[in-house]
């Protein structure tokens, strides 16, 4: 699984020598957020990435989602190189093939629970057709009766469940979660992680998540560690 030499169509995600360097205010002193990362995640796998703050975890997820593009190397989703795509092509990949879950939920306060879940479908232009799917997802996370509520009325754990539904609405090939329990207490965090794993499995979606918690990391098929922008794919770190 380590250091693949060629992209495979059945790989949900593949990094090949990926680097990300940011310019800083100090001339000649760029910041290396990610260094020569190479890995592949076959479809259906669940991978946890652990690391300290500033180690490059979020950069890795942004690159994986096509939100950002690498300064070196190749990021492939389903065998297609994101770096070779136009901005709008990457947007379409994100719209249809990637689901995102964030630490701070990023639910929109002016939308109801149902509407927050439906947002990706609205953006994709198939709002009407997604109503049943949204209702199904909400029912599966136990929020069917809260569908019409404003999201401000939800607890943190409930908000993250809504965010998971939103991420899965478009049946993405790849689900990326950035510290999904970072803003929750342990008990609720555990429940949310269990739900995330279950939902990913039920939806047959590849899951890559970033976490601080070694316990939550152990729930994955594989655990990688990232430090100072370098990724260590040795599973013994857990």
């Amino acid at each position: 699984m380590n250091a693949p030499t060629a992209a495979k169509i059945d790989d949900a995600l593949q990094f090949e020598g990926v680097s990300k360097v940011y310019d800083t205010d100090v001339p000649g002193a760029p910041r290396h957020a990610l260094r020569d990362a190479t890995f592949r995640v076959p479809a259906g796998r669940r991978v946890a990435i652990v690391g300290r703050s500033g180690s490059g975890k979020s950069t890795l997820l942004h690159l994986a989602a096509g939100i950002d593009i690498p300064t070196g190397g190749h990021v492939r989703i389903g065998g297609r190189d994101l770096g070779a795509m136009s901005e709008s092509e990457r947007t379409r990949v994100r719209r249809h093939e990637v689901g995102l879950v964030f630490q701070f939920f990023h639910l929109l306060p002016h939308l109801s629970v149902r509407d927050n879940v439906l947002l990706p479908a609205w953006i994709a232009g198939n709002g009407t057709g997604a109503n049943d799917r949204a209702a199904d997802l909400l029912a599966r996370v136990g929020l069917a009766d809260r569908a019409g509520d404003p999201v401000q009325h939800l607890s943190g754990g409930e908000m993250q469940r809504v965010a998971i539904c939103r991420a899965l609405l478009q049946k993405p090939r790849l689900l990326l979660a950035d510290e999904p329990t970072g803003n929750l207490d342990d008990a609720i965090g555990t429940a949310v992680m269990d739900l995330l794993m279950t939902m990913a499995e039920d939806e047959n979606t590849t899951l890559v998540y970033v976490t601080h918690s070694r316990d939550f990391a152990r729930l994955a098929d594989e655990v990688w560690e990232i430090h100072s922008g370098s990724i260590d794919l040795d599973p013994t770190v857990v």
């Binding site: 306060p109 953006i123 009407t128």
Partner: protein, 848 residues
């Protein structure tokens, strides 16, 4: 702290150049509107005062007739009174330059000819060598012109200038140049001086003058001399000081000036919204900065001073931009206002625009003070918070959302209370209409947040389109409510004034169609200019009456007369006995058949609606007027609709007028043609045979068109103010969308992360702009209708006394609605572009 202030301000500006520039521009436009109108207002009065200063500069008192002219036989009486050092008789007559270059109505050049007695100790500012009095007295047509006019027209001493005085052609000779503007910089350049005897001959009224200026002996008491003169000269004259003449003119212009000032203040009011909203947005963004300062020991006062200091700099920049803009706007529009003054009040046109420094200082104070005022509430709110609250995240949107119902209640309360006050007795106060208008413009913004929430709340969104944009406006009340409120105020003004102007125009058209019944109208060309003199030659009148195809001739005489209370009004004499007379004047009160019979046969009069309302004179009352024989009472047979801006008129039969005023002059003639004759063909025949350059020969159709053109010119300046307000409001839309683009970085990044394209984000913001325009239109439209009712039925009645029939200009509404929506969309393009550039990597940013 000062060093911090400088650095903080610089960083703040660098961080939001577009926001800062838009806010400065909004303040600048508000300042410009106020300054431009103040300059125009001041210039309108200064034009009259300037010419008065130039003509009667040395006079301590002026003797004016309460009848069209004064007998010059009064002069020895005046000179013989104690305390009088000199008495300077004066004849004023309007003239139109007769040349091909000035033949068209658009290019007409009017002169104000002043006849002075060169034997009196009059001091005139001759340019070059002193005037040769022998030539002035002996040479026929000798006249002194101003150097400015001579230069403009390319005239030099010795040139002949043909002019029309009434319907007579007169040849003037440029005998000397007199620089009146050295005496009074604002004096009209079109003043022309001739010998008084020549002027009397030109006027066709030898032995009469228009005024006598009195110079008092040293130490003489002005009040006492004035009282003595009134006693000696009788009730037919008025003795006034220059200040009294200025005050009377200011009174005449008061409503005109007040209306313009009110409109300009609305522009400033809209500008203040921008400052408020921009300050609010800026402060929310920088709350952590203030929290840190407070944690480090800065006092509330220091924080407040810091914020207000920044806003003052913003106001200062707005003023720096607004002052030249205001001056330029005034210069660009002075001609339009000048035309309105001449049309409405027969006053001198504005010759020059001079702005005292105090006016700039006043405008600067209004700009900076307004900016500080606009920022005061958010600044106080921010300075009062404790450091912990400042350092923790809070959303202003939730606050305004919670406040929306209470603000709406306050708005309804203001509107309701002002309405109750008006009904309960406030309506008796002349300015009550402005109280209602201010209440409306204050209440409307307070209703805005609640209205937006009510309108956008129930929207069922099923996609990422316009509905989503509108829904998100309701969710961002803090930003959207201010932009929509500012737009609503501007739209109210636009719609309200449009309804009023269109209703007025429509009413006037109907009135003109009813009253303009003759086929051809003839008047002296010079009658169009300032002043009231301008006579038609009697022979010409007879010639016209005998013209083939002319069935009947209606003669008109009009001049200023005075009531017993010394109030000026226009007296109009017409041939009431003509069969068509009853059609020429639509009666508001009185039975037409009886009324016109009484006016024709029994010496009754009709009074104009404006005078009737102002003086509470109705059918059965009598109006008491000064005649050469003293005060005479004229019973009122009816009240007719009129649209006079100078206080209204009294209409009587020409025979009654001639009998009481011993005046047989004519100012106009209307010709009724035999059925089947084409008025335009007859006008062409008359033009070929008569001295047409001296005359305004207009067919019925042309006269109606001309009247409407004059109306349109009169209201041209209001269009400018409407435009400025709308421009400021549109800046507000752009500013608030920029604020949203900045505040919603996290939300926009989320959309991008969820697969939204840049084009979709762009569309989302354009939708917001369109939504703001639409909401502003809904609120402003409702406000505008109410404002129109206030303008038509309260303000207009109180100040002018006109009856205006309400008319809904649907076509104009449609055009304005499209313009507002289009400009709102245009205003959203740049913010939309900025928002669409938000990268998904900004997702980590905290949303405010």
């Amino acid at each position: 702290m000062l060093r911090f202030f400088g650095r903080s301000l610089a960083a703040h500006v660098r961080g939001g150049r577009s926001l800062f520039a838009l806010t400065v521009f909004g303040v600048a436009l508000g300042v410009a509107a106020v300054l431009a109108i103040q300059i125009i207002n001041r210039s309108s009065l200064a034009a009259f005062e300037g010419s008065m200063q130039a003509v009667s500069g040395e006079a301590d008192l002026t003797i004016l007739g309460r009848t069209p002219s004064l007998a010059d036989s009064l002069l020895p009486v005046v000179l013989g009174r104690p305390g009088v050092a000199a008495a300077l008789p004066l004849v004023r007559l309007p003239a139109a330059v007769a040349s091909k270059a000035h033949a068209s109505r658009a290019n007409a050049l009017f002169l104000d000819i002043i006849g002075v007695d060169f034997f009196t100790p009059v001091r005139l500012p001759w340019q070059g060598a002193p005037g040769d009095l022998a030539a002035a007295l002996g040479q026929r047509g000798w006249a002194a012109f101003t150097p400015t006019l001579a230069q403009q027209q390319g005239w030099t001493v010795g040139d002949s200038v043909r002019v029309w005085v009434g319907s007579r052609e007169v040849c003037l000779v440029v005998g000397a140049l007199i620089d009146f503007q050295s005496l009074s910089p604002l004096a009209s350049s079109k003043l022309v001086v001739v010998d008084i005897a020549q002027a009397q001959v030109l006027l066709g009224r030898p032995g009469f003058v228009n005024q006598i200026d009195v110079v008092l002996a040293e130490g003489a008491d002005r009040e006492r001399v004035a009282a003595d003169l009134i006693t000696q000269l009788g009730a037919g004259v008025r003795v006034v000081t220059p200040q009294q003449r200025s005050t009377q003119t200011a009174g005449l212009l008061a409503a005109f000036r007040l209306n313009l000032t009110a409109l300009s203040l609305i522009s400033l009011f809209v500008g203040l919204f921008l400052v408020y909203a921009a300050t609010q947005a800026s402060l929310v963004r920088r709350r952590a900065e203030f929290g840190t300062l407070r944690s480090l020991g800065a006092s509330r006062g220091q924080v407040l001073a810091l914020i207000l200091g920044e806003v003052s700099v913003l106001g200062l920049l707005g003023v720096a931009l607004g002052l030249p803009l205001g001056y330029w706007s005034a210069r660009a529009n002075v001609d339009v206002v000048s035309i309105a003054l001449t049309n409405l009040y027969l006053l001198d046109e504005i010759a020059a625009v001079r702005v005292p420094l105090s006016l700039y200082a006043q405008a600067a104070a209004i700009g900076i003070g307004g900016a500080v005022l606009g920022a005061l509430i958010p600044a106080l709110d921010m300075s009062r918070r404790d450091p912990r609250a400042l350092l923790s995240a809070f959303t202003m949107h939730e606050r305004i959302d919670a406040l929306a119902p209470r603000l709406a209640q306050l708005g309804i309360g203001i509107l309701g209370l002002s309405g109750l006050w008006f009904v309960a007795g406030g309506q008796r106060w002349q300015h009550a209409g402005f109280v209602l208008a201010v209440a409306l413009l204050a209440g409307l913004p307070l209703l805005t947040p609640w209205t937006i929430r009510r309108l956008t709340g129930p929207l069922r969104v099923n996609g990422f389109g316009l509905g989503y944009s509108l829904k998100s406006l309701g969710a961002r009340l803090q930003s959207s409510a201010f932009a929509v409120a500012a737009l609503a105020v501007a739209v109210s003004m636009l719609v309200g004034i449009s309804i009023m102007v269109d209703s007025f125009r429509d009413t006037l058209e109907v009135w003109i169609q009813t009253t303009v019944q003759a086929d051809i109208y003839v008047s002296p060309a010079a009658w169009r200019g300032p002043g009231e003199e301008g006579y038609l030659d009697r022979d010409l009148a007879r010639q016209l009456a005998a013209w083939p195809g002319v069935l009947a001739v209606d003669r008109l005489r009009s001049f200023a007369a005075y009531t017993e209370q010394d109030e000026r009004l226009m007296l109009v004499g017409v041939d009431v006995g003509l069969p068509v007379a009853s059609q020429r004047f639509s009666l508001l009160l009185g039975d037409p058949a009886t009324a016109f019979q009484r006016v024709h046969e029994e010496g009754f009069v009709l009074v104009g609606e404006t005078l009737a309302r102002r003086k509470n004179l109705w059918v059965g009352d009598e109006v008491r007027l000064y005649t050469p024989a003293g005060i005479r009472a004229f019973p009122i047979a009816g009240v007719y609709y009129d649209y006079d801006a100078r206080g209204g008129g009294v209409l009587m039969d020409l025979r009654t007028l001639s009998a009481h005023w011993q005046d047989d002059a004519l100012n106009g003639i209307a010709l009724y043609l035999q059925p089947g004759l084409d008025a335009d063909v007859v006008v062409d025949q008359l033009r070929a045979a008569l001295p047409v350059e001296a005359l305004d020969l207009l067919s019925n159709r042309r006269l109606r068109t001309e009247a409407i053109n004059i109306f349109d010119q009169t209201f041209a300046v209001t269009r400018l103010l409407q435009g400025i307000s709308l421009l400021i409001a549109v800046c507000g839309v752009a500013l608030m969308l920029l604020v949203m683009a900045r505040e919603q970085v996290s939300e926009l990044a989320l959309y991008r992360a969820l697969g939204s394209t840049r084009r979709q984000i762009f569309g989302l913001f354009v939708g917001k702009g369109l939504g703001m325009g639409g909401l502003g239109l809904v609120l402003g439209g409702a406000g505008g209708v109410i404002l129109a009712l206030i303008l038509i039925f309260v303000i207009n009645r109180a100040y002018f006394g006109w009856t205006i029939q309400l008319h809904w200009p649907w076509w104009s509404f449609g055009e304005q609605a499209l313009t507002i929506l289009a400009t709102s969309v245009a205003a959203s393009l740049y913010p939309a572009w900025k928002a669409s550039r938000t990268p998904a990597t900004e997702l980590g940013r905290e949303d405010s």
